[in-house]
Each structure stands twice: as C-alpha cells, then as structure tokens.
Symmetry: C2
Subunit: 238 residues, 2 copies
C-alpha cells in the first residue's frame, strides 16, 4: 500500500524533507493534499475527531492504520523501511539526532522572516525580521554549517556522507537546507559555504543522484516561493 | 554504570526534561556540570575533537561509549530503558511525537523573551519580546494546551496519562511545561488551564508522584530563574 503524505500543497516546507526521502527510495507514495479533495482529507485528520492519535500539525504520514506527525519522527519511521538509515541502534539514533538539529535550523530559518508570530504577515513584522535575519545570517548559519562540516570530517567511513558510507535521510535533508538557505540568502550562503567545503560537496553529490535529479526536474518538486519556510526577501540577505 | 547528564549547571532548561525522567525512574545518574570541574568536561565534549559524534549543544547524555544529544532523542533512548515508554513501536513513536511537539513549545517559550537573538540580552530585544509574548500567550499556548487536552481525552486507556495507562516521559515533560509556563506567565496560564482540566489534572498527578515530589523538594531541583528558558518578566504576562 502506498504511503500517504499530508502536507500543505503550495509549498516545499517541512514536507519536502519527507518527499526527498520517498523520492530517493523510489517509494510508492501519494502527496495527498495535492490531489483533488486532498485538502479536505488533510483537514479531516487535523480537525476531525476520528483519529486516535492526531498530529499537532502537518506534515504527517499515513501508513495503513499508523498516523505519524513531526517531520523527524516520520523520517525515523521511514528511514529503516526505505533503507535510508543505519541498522544499528546507535547509528539510527545518530542520524535522528542530526535530523533534530536540522529541524532546529529549519525553525530558525522560518523565524528569520516571522520573528513575532506565525499569524501575522511578513510585512507586519519586517523591522523585527531585519534584526533577526542579520543574526541568523551572521551567527547561526555559520555555527550550524560548521557543525555539519565537523561531523562530515569525523565520519570515519566517508567525508561525503554524514553517517556511515551510504546515503541516509539526513544527507538528503542537509542538501535541502543548503538549497533552501541558498535560495533565501544567496549572498550570505555563498560566503558561508566557502568555509564548509564538505557541506557544499555533499549538497552537490545529492543533487546528482539519479532519482533526486529526476525529482528536482519534475513538477512534483514545488518551486521555492514566498509562502514557504525558505523565502527570498533581498533586504534580509544583508 | 551511572548515566552522565551534561547540561548548563545554573538552569533547569532543556536538561530538566531528562532529569525528571531519570528521577522518576530512580536511575543512577550524575549531573556532570554541577560537579567540581564538570563544566570542563562539558566543554571538552562540545569543543574538543575527541568525540566521533559530537552533539550540537547541551543537553547530552553519556551512557558508556554512547553520546546522545537533542532532548527528545535522549528521552527516546532512555524511555525504553527506564520503563517510561510503551514497548510497541507505534506507541514509542507516539510518545516521541508528543515529545517533539513539546520541544516546539519549549522553543517558542524561549523565543517569547528572545525573539531576535540568543546572543543578545533580553533587555536588548524587549520591544520585540512584548509583541512576541502577546501572541505566544494569546494564541500559541492555548493552541498547544488544547491539543494536549484532546489527546488526553482520546487516550482509550486513561485520561490522566498521555499514552497508555502508565506514566511515560511525555507525561513528565507536560508537567514541566505547565510548571514552566505557570512560572513565566502566571496570569495567562491560569486562564488557559481553566479551559484544559485534563492537562491541569495530569500536572497535579505528576507533582504527587513520590519520586517527583521528593525531587522537587530536593536541592537537585534548580529553582526557576531569569537565565533559563521559562522566565518571569511581568511585562510579558499581559
């Protein structure tokens, strides 16, 4: 039975980390909310009273009777099944820990344009966004990228994969972080990536993987836009 | 061998979610950075080049050779070992999913007083904090508490535990959320909790558990303070 991914249909957002894993594995899946009446199905799970374990927010995944929310938990669940995580407990937990750190930078990337409230437009919090984006660009992005560079350098099996010698969902997610931040902050990221060549190399290697390349060229890949998590507002790029 | 918890010594912070689980289980553990030279040991893991899989930030846990960062990942690891999580995969993942949602509200609680930068003092971002705390108090806290209330009501085994019929680390963490938010926003939380009686009841029941009660009365429990995640600034409480 196909996996069912539920996520907002117009943006890459947090759903994209799941899409990349499903695409890399060649898994059978339906991007539910992009199908006719799909948004009704999404809303029914979130707001209805049928689901015993309702997620707090999209994305969530249905696999038969199992409903799982939280991006990192979904990837933890899929990692083993899709062959995108190590088999040993310590390895699986390490990939998950990296993913949780990626979730943290995703939250900060979101708040760089929405520092006050998710319920207000960017234009209603632009002065605050200018301040927050500056520190995000100048302090936080370099700090995160330096950590990824360190763990790539310390991986005894490979310096082009975060964990072990094969691709994991964390590699795909780090690719997406570099893509997204480069879209949002082209000037800031160019400077930052120059100092983290292993991160830049991982990004380029993931982009060339046959299934990822095919996916990125397809209409299944939603273009970046200013409703998503990674938004390009040139005034925020310094 | 005792578990070693590494966290900033002067605050409850994210480390407190781990402490509560270890305390409830009566586990043998050392709160490393609160011991003599403990901060050196913490810094050596974070900044040294000895650790193959260095965490991005505290808290982290050492269990023999295993080093695990990210609060939710640490609890996922400990849950099974301490008897604070269900045994089936779906149940363990559900508790973890709840914990990840708790991590999200913890991040938002932090940003209510630090909406611009972790590298600036509160006083340097107070105007922005006033705006962010208002929406956190009025929209976000009620939304999160309503979700916890819903999942308590839908738990077929109990309406005083989030998952199944016994205590899990997610129950302990929700207790801590209620404690922390009540410290930070006493007026706002009193109003919010009046609408979520199951959440209030779970909080009270956890506080009465013998080991938790003993822990809260001990000097192992660091008092809330204005260096932590949950800070009381009366101007932010509306």
């Amino acid at each position: 039975m196909a996996y069912e991914l539920y996520y907002w249909p117009g943006i890459q957002g947090r759903g994209e980390f799941i899409r990349l894993a499903l695409e890399e594995a060649g898994a059978d899946y339906v991007d539910v909310a992009r199908q006719p009446e799909g948004m009704d199905a999404l809303t029914a799970v979130l707001d209805g009273d049928e689901v015993a374990r309702p997620p707090f927010a999209p994305p969530f995944l249905k696999d038969g009777d199992v409903v799982i929310g939280q991006t990192a938990a979904i990837l933890f669940y899929l990692g083993e099944r899709l062959g995108l995580a190590p088999r040993d407990e310590a390895g699986r937990l390490w990939v998950h820990q990296i993913q949780l750190t990626i979730a943290d930078i995703v939250g900060e990337a979101h708040d760089s344009h929405h520092p006050i409230s998710v319920d207000l437009y960017y234009e209603e919090q632009q002065p605050e966004a200018l301040r927050r984006a500056k520190t995000f660009r100048e302090a936080r992005i370099p700090k995160y990228l330096a950590w990824f560079e360190t763990i790539l350098a310390r991986n005894p099996k490979s310096d082009s994969h975060l964990v072990g010698s094969g691709v994991t969902y964390a590699d795909l997610s780090l690719f997406q972080i570099v893509e997204g931040l480069s879209y949002a902050f082209p000037r800031g990221m160019k400077r930052a990536l120059a100092k983290t060549p292993l991160v830049a190399g991982l990004h380029d290697a993931v982009a060339k993987r046959p299934r990822i390349r095919a996916y990125l060229a397809s209409d299944r890949r939603i273009p970046f836009n200013e409703a998503g998590i990674f938004r390009h507002y040139s005034e925020l790029d310094g």
